[in-house]
Symmetry: C2
Subunit: 345 residues, 2 copies
DNA sequence: ACTTTTCACGCAAACGTTTGCCTGTTTTTT
DNA sequence: AAAAAACAGGCAAACGTTTGCGTGAAAAGT
């Protein structure tokens, strides 16, 4: 009851049976007599026996652990996603090993290596911004460790992933603004290197052209996502010959920076300039000059889907079967969400 | 290179030496000749050998894993804390196993049990709100698994913990408001059942009496931390015969609710009523009518300290030595932080 | 009553690594 | 040159569990 945990061996010795009998009795294996089963189970209960997961993992070569590698745990998007991941894996008796790359490729590589060595059964990865080589992911494939990427997907073929389609969100966002009467709409986009930037741009263009509006490339400006970069981007838009009356920004933070700057410049955020952004942080419902709408990316849903897929992959792997199945490509549609506060005013 | 990971055995067989020699060579054990060491290491490198962490854990009865149990991963405070925990344990070659109790005692108990069985080396726990029995923590002690509690500390003796002293933060907050000329200061507190509520109240009282102001208990109102509850609390303060010109709230969310309600009532948040709150969520720097100051609880620091303590405990345990040492009781002093935006206006 | 099945359980290997102890060879000491 | 010491490495047990295979005894079939 105290001290060291009870083992199957001890139970066996006390009951004068073999370890294999105890093991089987505990698993209700049909080949063990019912009386023995009961005796064993009773003693196990009494001793507070709990199987040593470590030994089992070692024996089976399976850890019932899935690794999660993300850039930054403290970011709202990722903590929400992980929260969902933890919940769905917990239900299936898996635990999660978490590590953050801090958007550093070097560390990401180390983490993948470490996760491999600690023999996680599978991996959920959202890749670092700076990652430019992908050999470490190939390595996982060689070792037959299933990986599901989410949100930040590497540009390689034959992978499982769940991501959010930013394009439709962009289209919705622009349509929303058009319907509100805006005709000159700016886009403060992220770095061109990010796939997410491309999708936003595509959506923007599609929405404009679908609505028979001429698309002006100079209304799209890139930005490094910092406060300073945002200010510059906003300035350039404000100087535009057709100064936009609405701006779509890469994410809520960019919106916040931009809004701050706009107010410093004395711009009327109710009449002269409106913002729509991405991510839908909980913040914006408590702000006065928040974006009028935001494109929700459903981190919780993405996390859950990714975990579901990985668990499915692991289940298939158990039943051995067909190596090369199809690849899961799940797209979560982003969705424009109006800011309740601002729109109830 | 492909398929299954290389093992020590394979290396031994290829080199015609024993496994023990390989093991020792890999650890640079002095009793192995230098030439053999080099041969072994070279082959290990070539084969891409990486030790099977699982086997090592099993063998040593040590997992190099620490479990973290928190109420809610998606809450900013906890994700920040965990981010720090992950970073500091990573440096010492530990990994973290994360699970959330969702503030549910039942689940917390299950998680503790599960963590024990998966043989984590130690545990970091922030207790669920509803937890009222503590037998599961005692159990850990019996099994000699070190635990460090952080932020939410159970009311039991002889534990290691790091927590934030809310009292000093409260005093600072009240002093700050007094110095700004406020004389009637309200407090929208949390449920009386929370220790944190008591500390805030104590701080409030101390600050008032230290400044020779009469302390009016009716200026302190409890609240269940919901939006609705906050409204009621605010209403009762506004109806007070000495209507407060400043209010300290239990946390930033309560402030947000209160501010929203106050504005709905047409109150001038610049002149007639000011707020100070706790937690210092990043949000408030982007709000117009944010609290003028917030008491920072340093989640990052708390997480780091807690992890440091646990690692220290584990290190001591390795060197066996003296069972019952002293208990770590680390108090992180909270600190009032002015809202830069609001105070620069 | 004798063979065949079924039943209930034990044996032992295996998973990969670490480590205390032993042994054979070389080097050093006197 | 013999004894002692240092060196380099091997043997085997141990960690806790699972599982294929073997086996004696009881039950069933003829």
């Amino acid at each position: 009851m105290t001290g060291k945990p009870a083992t199957i061996k001890e139970i066996a010795k006390i009951l004068n049976v073999s370890v294999s009998t105890v093991s089987r009795a505990l698993h209700k294996h049909p080949t063990i007599g019912i009386t023995t089963q009961i005796k064993v189970q009773a003693l196990a209960e009494k001793l507070g026996y709990e199987p040593n997961q470590n030994a089992i993992s070692f024996q089976k070569g399976k850890t019932y652990t899935i690794g999660v590698i993300i850039p930054e745990l403290a970011e709202a998007f990722f903590s929400a996603a992980i929260s969902a991941i933890e919940d769905t894996t917990y239900k299936r008796n898996y635990t999660v090993l978490i590590a953050q790359s801090h958007d550093n490729e070097e560390k990401e590589i180390q983490l993948v290596e470490k996760m491999k060595n600690s023999r996680v059964d599978g991996l959920l990865i959202s890749v670092a911004k700076t990652t430019s080589s992908f050999a470490h992911f190939d390595m996982l494939k060689r070792f037959n460790i299933p990986v599901v990427f989410f949100d930040r997907i590497p540009p390689i073929k034959n992978i499982h992933y769940v991501a959010c389609n930013m394009e439709t969100g962009s289209i919705e966002a622009v349509n929303y603004l058009l319907q509100k009467g805006h005709r000159s709409i700016g886009l403060i986009n992220g770095p061109a290197t990010l796939a997410a930037s491309g999708e936003r741009k595509e959506g923007y263009i599609k929405a404009m052209t679908k609505n028979r509006l001429k698309f002006d490339p100079s209304l799209i400006v890139g930005c490094n996502l910092t406060e300073e970069g945002t200010r510059e981007a906003l300035n350039s838009l404000l100087d535009h010959k057709r100064r936009p009356t609405a701006i779509v920004t890469f994410n809520d933070y960019v919106s916040l920076y931009a809004i701050k700057h706009a107010r410093d410049l004395g711009i009327d955020l109710d009449k002269d300039l409106q913002f729509v952004s991405y991510a839908n942080l909980p913040i914006i419902n408590y702000m006065d000059y928040a974006p009028v709408a935001s494109v929700e990316q459903f981190p919780h849903l993405q996390g859950q889907k990714a975990a579901d897929i990985l668990l499915d992959l692991l289940a298939r792997k158990d039943q051995s079967s067909d190596e090369v199945q199809a690849y899961y490509n799940v797209i979560v549609e982003s969705q424009l969400v109006e800011n309740k506060v601002r729109n109830s005013q």
